[in-house]
């Protein structure tokens, strides 16, 4: 039981420490993918904007997935 609690707190620490980077990378990837697509199709600034928003949304979703894994949701 005690071992289990220790593992759970390690898990919590790990998940919290990973959250910042996950969010930051999602937003950045969205932005850069959007600006690359804009250059490719010549649609500046629309795809940058859309991909930026999608990246942010994906970041939030992955934080949600980390906090509430599928096991807990079923």
């Amino acid at each position: 039981m005690k071992e289990d609690e220790k593992n759970q707190s390690y898990k919590a620490v790990g998940l919290i420490m990973s959250a910042g980077m996950t969010m930051a990378v999602s937003v950045t990837i969205g932005y850069f993918a959007g600006s690359w697509l804009d250059k490719y199709f010549g649609t500046k600034p629309w795809l940058t904007l859309i991909m930026f928003i999608l990246g942010t949304a994906a970041g939030l979703k992955s934080l949600y997935d980390l906090a509430f894994p599928k096991k807990g949701r079923d």
Binding site: Q8, K11, M17, V25, S26, A58, K61, K71
Partner: protein, 241 residues
Amino acid sequence: MSATAEGGGAAHHGPVDPLFNVAIPGTDFHLPIYNFVITSWVIMFILVFTAWLATKNMHRMPKGIQNVWEYAVDGLFSFFGGIMGEERARKYGPFLGTCFLYILLSNYSGVIPGAAMIKGFVPPTNNVSITAGLAVLVFLSVFYFGIQAKGIGFFKHFFQPMAFLFILNVIEELVRPISLSLRLYGNVYGEETIIAQLGEMVPFLVPLPMMVLGLLTGAIQALVFTLLASTYIAGATEEHH
């Protein structure tokens, strides 16, 4: 102590000269071998050799190196068991545990005096190509284990919980290896650079607290990497009832 600014910087940043090249027979291509690759080989050798030593003559009452390895393997399996359940921890634990031990030893190799000063001795996780390689391995293994466990049904999760979230799920999947590799590389590189800069200014005792902190962050980063890898694999192999 652990890395001079020049030694540390030149070893993992910008254009670096490979230590030597290995010619691939039958082609003109020469495979460059860098500093961190040598350290990586040494770490792999240490892991394989000690594992071989620990298992070659096992006793019911473990002692010596067998005891150390049993403690490590038991601890790792119970940790993964808490995330993905006992049965899957047995199945995927060897891969995840190897990742953990390799990253842990890589991170700790930077604290050994002489790291980044001796030729061929640079912490591998201090280089983004190694961490990216590890992250790609995790990325591919998620697909491999997922397809192995669920067949083509694995791809259904891209359309869950709702079909219109497909694009978000794809971005999420692609972001994973990038964030995994950058997180590990950034933390190790940052910590090594601070130690190197402090060592430049005051070589004696002052970098010590940072090195102690480095021991902590080294373990935490190895834990975070494998924890995330195990949650990804757990998510991919989850059976829905």
